[in-house]
């Protein structure tokens, strides 16, 4: 508001009326749509529908286990396969995870919600209907904040319309056997939460960051792994464009996006397509589109005319889900620290930069591990050892951080030994590799047992240095003659003689002294 009034009063003094009204329009919109889109004529309206698989051990309405990448059709019960006479049994863990997600997103958990059947025929939907929450979802409202901590240059907020519990379908695989569709029901019946946002996003970057933020929040509270590549997070995006101060345009839905990068690319391409159509005088048809990665274009999947009537019907087998305030309070009290609070606190408490915090947060359990190891140690060192060395070494061996064999205690011992000069950084890295391979000893023990201790005894080092100098009179002459590079050679020789265990700093000092 302040900007608007200042600019207009200033400009009134210097420019003509038309120009002022143009600036006014842009400035007004600067408050809501905070991007400076290239044409400044069009505004983009973006909404998201996110499906996140819940991190429960068993499915939403049956006791078969949830799975990822398991052999096909091994986690299917008679309920999942919709055999006659089967009935759904609600998994209360899924309800907990959904309530936690709602609370973490500042939503209002509905004390009474109910289940409905969304009906359509498809082979990967065994009962011919999906149990969802169409009329009364478990949570209404909520918001996601984006700011510098998330990588956005300005502040914005994305409102959440609702969160509902629903079942996932099985998988249809069309391209393995020609002429046939193979059905894998492992995923059928897995619990999902569908998170629907209001159309508050204005750029593809905002949309991408919203998804990232959502992933981060869901991972932190443990409701979902939120992994787009693995399929535990799926996003559909709604995009429309309109000229400023005209009503919202017709939107198109883009489905089957399996990474944030593709999501953002698809949005940008779709914005261009819609603007081009409108500028050519055509109308936008409401339809569902897919994204062709190779062509970098969206393409039609189906139009509104052929959209299915889902014949929503209240689920007669399940009574309404009734929660009481104590239950919700209990879950609220057990919520871990949310990403925004966590970022601020870690940066403040330990003085490590935002980038490091983000890398630590990207691994489930990363921050906890860091806070264990950082006790009585230099935080920056600990952060570096984790993010630069440990993560890299695990990744190279294809080990997920959740399976990390190096305890915080072990890592801490390595850092201690490096910091007080017992070993070089290189040796430290080697020790960590040993630990990853299964060595459960502390660094100090390993060093002792295998004599890896860095040579820091000045007298010893002086002796070795003198020896090296004496044994290589030619190089000595060369150095005295002015060839500076030979110094490094001498250092190398000393390191060689000591099998890399000499303290390089001391070696440098001593050689400088002697030479």
């Amino acid at each position: 508001m302040i900007i608007k009034t200042f600019v207009t009063t200033y400009l009134k003094k210097t420019c003509n009326e038309r120009f002022i009204s143009k600036i006014k329009r842009n400035v007004t919109f600067y408050q809501y749509s905070t991007h400076l889109y290239k044409s400044n004529k069009w505004e983009t309206i973006i909404g998201l529908e996110v499906h996140a698989q819940l991190n429960s051990k068993t499915k939403l309405f049956s006791s078969s286990s949830t799975s990822f990448n398991e052999p096909v059709n091994t986690n299917v019960s008679v309920i999942d396969a919709a055999f006659p006479g089967t009935l759904p049994q609600l998994n209360t863990k899924c309800v907990e995870l959904a309530v936690a997600a709602s609370l973490a997103l500042s939503g209002n958990v509905q004390l009474v919600s109910s289940f409905d059947r969304k009906q359509y025929f498809y082979p990967d939907l065994p009962p011919g209907y999906q149990i969802t929450q169409h009329y009364a979802p478990i949570s209404l409202g909520g918001k996601i904040f984006l700011n510098q901590l998330d990588g956005l240059e300005y502040d914005t907020m994305v409102r959440i319309k609702q969160i509902q519990l629903e079942q996932d379908t099985g998988k249809s695989i069309h391209d393995i056997v020609p002429g046939m569709t193979l059905i894998d029901l492992n995923r059928a019946g897995t619990g999902l939460i569908e998170i629907v946002t209001e159309p508050d996003m204005r750029t593809s970057k905002e949309a991408g960051l919203t998804v990232k933020k959502l992933q981060s929040i869901l991972r932190t509270i443990g409701s979902s792994d939120g992994n787009m590549e693995e399929g535990s997070l799926r996003c559909d995006v709604n995009v429309s464009v309109h000229e400023h101060e005209t009503p919202y345009g017709t939107r198109c839905e883009i489905k089957n996006l399996n990474s944030i990068k593709f999501l953002m690319a698809a949005i940008d391409v779709e914005i261009e397509r819609q603007i081009k159509e409108l500028e050519n005088g055509n109308k936008i048809v409401q339809e569902t589109r897919g994204f062709d990665v190779l062509k970098n274009k969206t393409f039609r999947l189906r139009t509104k005319e052929t959209a299915t009537d889902y014949r929503y019907m209240p689920e007669p087998d399940l009574s309404p889900l009734i929660l009481n305030k104590d239950y919700i309070t209990r879950i609220s009290n057990n919520l871990p620290e949310l990403p925004d609070d966590l970022k601020t606190r870690i940066m403040k408490q330990y003085g490590i930069p935002l980038h490091d915090v983000i890398v630590l947060m990207n691994e489930t359990g990363g921050v906890k591990y860091f806070e264990e190891a950082v006790k009585n140690r230099n935080p920056q060192h600990v952060s570096n050892w984790i993010t630069h060395e440990l993560f890299g070494l695990l990744h190279a061996r294809n080990i997920k951080f959740s399976q990390n064999p190096v305890s915080a205690l072990q890592l801490g011992s390595v850092i201690d030994c490096v910091d007080n000069g017992d070993i070089t950084g290189k040796v430290g890295k080697k020790i960590i590799e040993k630990m990853i391979s299964g060595d459960s000893r502390l660094a100090s023990i390993i060093i002792q047992d295998e004599g890896l201790r860095q040579l820091s005894d000045i007298n010893e080092l002086e002796k070795i240095c003198k020896n090296v100098i004496l044994q290589n009179p030619e190089q000595l002459r060369s150095f005295k003659g002015g060839k500076q590079t030979v110094f490094a050679w001498f250092v190398g020789q000393v390191m060689n003689k000591t099998k890399g265990q000499a303290n390089p700093k001391l070696v440098n000092e001593i050689l400088r002294k002697l030479l």
Binding site: A81, A82, F83, P84, G85, T86, L87, P88, Q89, L90, R117, Q119, F121, P123, P126, P127, G128, Y129, I183, D309, R311, Y312, M313, P316, D317, L318, S319
Partner: protein, 422 residues
């Protein structure tokens, strides 16, 4: 279990004239009578002495109707007493597992065994509610003498006295009422004003739920799958499988149900029907003097914290103050068992240009359920007790007793009185 009986193409109409096996090579004696639907096979098996008892499912009268036609006991418990796990679902909110036996004692015997809480059935009555229910005051607790029914109040719902009732049924109904009166019961005329809407409401709700529950029969994972080699269009696996696998009446109901759930119809049919259902439930709650345990718990959450004696005292007081009745007595069917020739569906009629009789025959079939449907809509227990033989055709006629939700013991009690005196 000794065997399972054949049903006319799953959840058939009220008639049950054919089995799937018979190929109709020999003409059926057209004067033969039908066993009733849809648990006709079960009723026939019990009536003929093939077995001691038989299970069935009662969604709109499917146990009580054949029991009346075949002259055996057909008992439908309160919804939620017996687990539906394993019961092929037709209309989930109406389906009730029931029992067919030759006498009340046997029915009660089996009922006591199968009426247990089952965690696999989300609509199974929870243990806490069962305990509250059994603590509520009811007639059978206050009485121990089968010949002294002076504390009993019997309700005759006016709306059940319809013009289509045949005379033998009417007189048998009167005889049943007189019998109870002769033992000292107070006979009261009651009104269930929503009764006339119950039948159409049922025929909106049941097919709607059925269209949903039958969607899983697509031949993909089990059951019949169309042999697609002979078909032209490969994409129509579902269409061919389901057209071949379902009988005519079932297809009719699926289409009807699908229609009422479409976006344009949902508010006009389905929602209205649900409202009528609520009205039918309130009619019964008003008429009965024993409180409905489900509504009690909803309205007075403090009820859950009382012990059993306190519950008895509270409900006994409520019961004494009410002008309601303990049990309702009505006919089960409009007539005795229809003849086979009158019940064959249109696809078997030789003169296909007789379109008027076509419409009539379908609707007439539905009208047979008019007395049995309200108990399903309300979820209250009901029983068909064979009470006499028609003087015209010599076929059995049953009387229906209904009590408040959860009051099976009173139902068995009064059934025994009728049974001992038929």
């Amino acid at each position: 279990m000794i065997s399972s009986a054949n049903m006319y193409s799953a959840f058939g109409p009220a008639y049950n004239p054919h089995t799937i096996i018979s190929d109709q090579k020999e003409p059926i004696d057209q004067e033969l009578r039908v066993a009733g639907g849809s648990s006709g096979g079960s009723a026939a098996a019990v009536a003929s002495g093939m077995c001691f008892a038989s299970l069935g499912s009662d969604t709109g009268g499917s146990i009580r109707l054949p029991a009346s036609y075949c002259g055996v006991i057909g008992f439908k418990p309160s919804y939620g007493q017996c687990s539906r796990w394993g019961l092929v679902a037709y209309a989930s909110s109406l389906d009730t597992v029931g029992i067919i036996t030759r006498n009340v004692h046997d029915a009660q015997l089996i009922y006591d065994i199968i009426s247990k809480y089952d965690e696999k059935d989300p609509s199974s009555l929870p243990p806490k509610l069962r305990s509250i229910n059994s603590s509520l005051a009811s007639f059978d607790k206050t009485n121990s003498n089968f010949t002294d029914l002076s504390k009993l109040r019997v309700g005759i719902p006016q709306e059940y006295y319809v013009s289509e009732l045949s005379d033998p049924i009417k007189s048998l109904w009167k005889r049943g009422i007189s019998l109870l009166r002769s033992y000292g019961a107070t006979i009261v005329s009651v009104s269930c004003p929503s009764t006339r809407y119950a039948l159409p409401a049922y025929y909106i709700l049941a097919p709607a739920e059925a269209s949903s529950n039958l969607a899983r029969y697509d031949g993909v994972r089990y059951g019949h799958r169309s042999d697609m080699d002979s078909k032209q269009d490969e994409k129509l696996l579902y269409t061919h499988t389901r057209s071949e696998g379902f009988g005519e009446e079932v297809k009719r109901r699926i289409l009807l149900g699908t229609y009422t759930l479409t976006a344009g119809s949902y508010n006009n049919y389905f929602i209205y029907a649900q409202r009528i259902r609520k009205m039918v439930q309130s009619d019964f709650d008003y008429v009965f003097r024993r409180p409905n345990p489900l509504h009690l718990v909803k309205n007075e959450s403090s009820f859950c914290n009382c012990n059993n004696d306190e519950i008895f005292e509270i409900s006994n007081k409520l019961r004494k103050e009410s002008h309601g009745v303990d049990v309702i007595i009505t006919p089960v069917a409009i007539s005795t068992s229809p003849k086979v020739k009158d019940s064959l569906s249109s696809s078997f009629l030789s003169n296909s240009d007789n379109t008027k009789s076509l419409d009539d025959s379908f609707v007439n079939a539905y009208v047979n359920d008019v007395f049995t449907i309200p108990a399903n809509l309300a979820g209250i227990p009901a029983i068909s007790v064979p009470f006499g033989i028609s003087p015209i055709d010599g076929f059995p006629i049953g009387l229906q007793l209904m009590t408040q939700y959860g009051d099976e013991h009173t139902l068995f009690y009064i059934s025994k009185v009728l049974e001992n005196n038929k």
